[in-house]
Symmetry: C2
Subunit: 708 residues, 2 copies
Amino acid sequence: GLTGVLFMVFIPPLLYFSFIPTMVNVMNEIQHFNHVTPVDNCYCFLCRSFTRLPHLAGTEQNLKYAEQIMKEWQDFGLDSVEMVPYDVLLSYPNKSRPNYISIVDANGNEVFNTSLAEPVPEGYEDVSDIVPPYSAFSARGQPKGDLVYVNYGRTEDFFQLQRQMEIDVTGKIVIVRYGKIFRGNKVKNAMLAGAKGIIMFSDPADYCADGVQPYPDGWNLPGGGAQRGNVLNLNGAGDPLTPGYPAKEYTYRYSFEDGVGLPSIPVHPIGYHDAIHLLKNMGGKTPPNNWKGALNVSYRIGPGFIDDFKSHAVRMNIHTINQVTRIYNVIGKIRGALEPDRYVILGGHRDAWVFGGIDPMSGAAVVHETVRSAGRLISKGWRPRRTIIFASWDAEEFGLQGSTEWAEDNAKLLQDRAVAYINADSAIEGMYTLRVDCSPSLHTLVYNITKQIASPEEGEEGMSLYEKTEFLMMISKLGSGSDFEAYFIRLGIAAGRARYTKNKKTERYSSYPVYHSVYETFEIVEKFYDPSFRRLQAVAQVRGGLIFSLADSLLLPLDANQYADSLRKYAQSIAHVGQMHPEEMQMYQVSFDSLFSAVENFTIAARGFHERLETPLQVRLVNDQLMYLERGFIDPLGLPGRPFYRHVIFAPSSHNKYAGESFPGIYDALFDIENSVEPQRAWREVKRQISIAAFTVHSAAMTLTPPA
Amino acid sequence: GLTGVLFMVFIPPLLYFSFIPTMVNVMNEIQHFNHVTPVDNCYCFLCRSFTRLPHLAGTEQNLKYAEQIMKEWQDFGLDSVEMVPYDVLLSYPNKSRPNYISIVDANGNEVFNTSLAEPVPEGYEDVSDIVPPYSAFSARGQPKGDLVYVNYGRTEDFFQLQRQMEIDVTGKIVIVRYGKIFRGNKVKNAMLAGAKGIIMFSDPADYCADGVQPYPDGWNLPGGGAQRGNVLNLNGAGDPLTPGYPAKEYTYRYSFEDGVGLPSIPVHPIGYHDAIHLLKNMGGKTPPNNWKGALNVSYRIGPGFIDDFKSHAVRMNIHTINQVTRIYNVIGKIRGALEPDRYVILGGHRDAWVFGGIDPMSGAAVVHETVRSAGRLISKGWRPRRTIIFASWDAEEFGLQGSTEWAEDNAKLLQDRAVAYINADSAIEGMYTLRVDCSPSLHTLVYNITKQIASPEEGEEGMSLYEKTEFLMMISKLGSGSDFEAYFIRLGIAAGRARYTKNKKTERYSSYPVYHSVYETFEIVEKFYDPSFRRLQAVAQVRGGLIFSLADSLLLPLDANQYADSLRKYAQSIAHVGQMHPEEMQMYQVSFDSLFSAVENFTIAARGFHERLETPLQVRLVNDQLMYLERGFIDPLGLPGRPFYRHVIFAPSSHNKYAGESFPGIYDALFDIENSVEPQRAWREVKRQISIAAFTVHSAAMTLTPPA
């Protein structure tokens, strides 16, 4: 039937796939791993103990959890476990001066104030230290003024507002709905447009699924809930005060004014019960239909307030404090038996905005159980070929800081020795299918592993994840928004992430509804997301399977042919963007030929490399070629204006950190080029970026040719 | 006797020196190599054929020599030899409009013109295509004005002129003598001071040795000779139009205006016979004694002309043309038997300003003969453990372009695989002793090799180079000015150079007198510098010995302990510079403690590393640690304003490219800090640089610790 056809399409042709003898071995490992892993109760175990209390980065409770994890990893039998501290810039609300937004009348009286906290869910009423919703790293201030609604606050939304509707937001306060893009990009766009403050709200259109009740009766966001989150534009810098270097005690720190990516305007998040009050009084034009959310008020695109309220204004009251704070990573290691100087890394964060029932503890549980499984294998005499490193990162929520500082601290070693990095953030954000984002070199391994793992869904017994997900299992490119960033985008280490997700086609809400709210509890997972914990088990098997096969295969299970396929696809895609300007392409003599030629050259090198693998070989030599393939795409000069984004093929989108962009240098040069003030200069930059991309692909191809 | 004592002092303590078993093997190799190498006639052979005709980079003759070298290397038996072209920016005089300098009277008449060419030496009268003395990459123009003498044109000379003598050179033409620093730095200083042109002359005080006749009766510079040379400030960029990327056909090129390091003012070199005419008429004050050269005229420090000549002015007439030109490297390889993916590189340039009798052919001969020797060994069944790469670079004289473009082209491979780079520029620049500049990690190997090689000096039979040179054999740090730069300073590959040199204490002239003049002939070497060719043989044995032992030793002959010693020495030295400002150090809370602590940590790691070598070990693993040690000092962010100088411990001095500076980031931050306009900001930068240095040393230390 259809499944069979799709299956055949998805199996890479044999010529392209030279790992078969090795993969048998890999699969044995995974089966072995699955056998000893008590994944079915891991989540219960971990969440019962690690989601009881809020454990925000930089707090005592998060340090206590770190100590507990360290102790347990030691008990599980790792060769070494250490606590690695850094002193980074974090951001907290001022406990004595709460953040809120008010509507003030002509006399300056506050006629409406937004809520200071979310209603606490049942069972957690006695918990202290729940941080109220806030935008970490917001500037302090009390700007007052008219409000302008700008949809999702995306680049295109601001373009539409300014160019088509001809509304100027200079000196205004902007209100946008959450969703579609990373919130830091919304803030940056508001700043660039000249706004003096930005409010972000969760609209039910984006944070409620159809036919689902708000928590605790269902898994939708209640009207009193709001999304916390940092609003930095770090572009991979890690700690804002120590870009490029680990935030150790002796490290030089920039002043707050010179810190990387800190917004210069106040920012605040609100829920939809509060948002109604701001939106219902807004004046101005009626927005286009696609700007309208689901709140039962007439969206307007301001500025000003309507009718009786013309004399009213909105005031933001933001007193959030930035401070250098100690954070703690936990790093555990199993020494490789034969290649101790080759590292396979499994890392996920531990810090949570509140309880972290989904984000991050559903992922941290996977790391914890993988450590436990590895410990059991070791106690039975097993030892992996390569060194495995496990990491419990801190301060991910504040800009991937724990993982980035450790990457900076260990950059030399990682550059020389790291084989792959697998990320373990939230393991479940939906109830439909597995989702994997990874380097193209990992595609084949992902296919092979998911073929060995059973679907966790009822009624799909005997079906593998691979079959179950078929086309639905979107393997796509890595963006950012989690701790793999420094490893993949800065250092060029093959990386991947896997989690259970929703059906993107039918479920149109953003992320998962209670994302970064107080309602991310253990109970929401236990009651709704994964009552049997079988979905989490499946994710654990994928992540663990990747780690164990990368650490133990004689030949590294990385596939250069898949990279060639992806490069061709992305080259065609970016050329298509350029070719939307055929006249300019001709006028400025811009051609993508050199890029296609480089991709062709890479394709030939990759095919030759894998063909040679079928004859007797020097394993270390070809493994090094495979390991360094991803490094071949790194340009130490970085992307324009983003010195820490150094991967020429992939970067987080300049317009949405969550999304990955392929050939980002060319893409950004082409972006909005039709409105360029200096088209000649702009097209020269396109040519320069094509040249850099072509060189980089050639350069990576060279790493695959015989070494001498 | 004394020699014995010195010998003992120089032998590194046993604890510090773990290579003894390996070195025996290395020494066998070198003896073997010496045995089969006909070094004593190589120079005759090579120079007879390769110094007959001018072979400037970008000319047909230099391509012909490249083809000849390629063919001979193939015949010698290398596994592969290829010609690698790049299209880079070169610079030539305009053949129809010669460059010269004139004194013009009030009516604009040229009352004196400098010579258009050097008198051609005997035997070469019929040779065409001798390029006249010029400053490559000079701006075009005919500036006219008063002349100001600024000694050597060093930073301190301009400081003295402007601050103490209070003479402003804005809009003036500057005249400086050659020597002490790289000419490009003189030009940069003149530009920064606001001069509109700069003339450089060779003063007999700097280009004539006492009691030596001008060529052809001796080896001094004749009065009609002048020094060619490029006047770029590339800071390691290679081709000025393609910084960071190889200058291939498809590569994007900056416009000339945006090119890296191109001077904006006319520049021209003259000899001392011409210089007299400009200097003897100068007005202004009498300069300090140490500004006076040896010309029989009264040096003045202008501006203006004296007495009857007040109405006169100097006019530069410069018509030099920059053009993108194809250059050719020749790259030959011997595939390593056991580690084909580990590269040991011997490279030297082929292009010459004219005949290249010393620079570069005395070095190119060494490369050629090393290839011949290797070929003979191969024909006898030998094959090195690691791959050896031989390079004949082009366009070194135009800014190290051939070597830098190839380094850019192969950066990924070199970063992962290069063990060491040995440079082979001019093998002889004096008649006194061996001189070696290298990475500290190569010190021990240099000691051991030089102990095995006989002194070439008459009356020193039975004495080794090591004994002969004793303390005189200065092993010092690498600056720049030759092709090792991109390998060592940008990529962090352990590098070294060796040549025969003068007695620095007693011979005070700059470089060697005929440097970059038409008088660098085969005959000057044969008659004066090395009539027996035994000095050249000794240099060949050192360079070849380094290559063969690096390529063939089981354990890499690199010494981390020596690096530790050097780091300590350099840390003390830079701290001493800072401590010249004790009050500011206290006021701004600047401390070198973190740097000393990092050096201590490195020292412990290095000692532990070498101690562990004495027990059974995984050779590949420790060799990789040794190979990557130098890479550990690389910061991809580069030094401030010098993105391609990425080695945190060593860089060419910002004030003299020829000289090496240790801890260059800190040094530059401290330079002239007492005159800083914003001392607080300046001292913050000192702190930042100390922090970066401390981190980098820690980071390098980590590469030496057990990997897991």
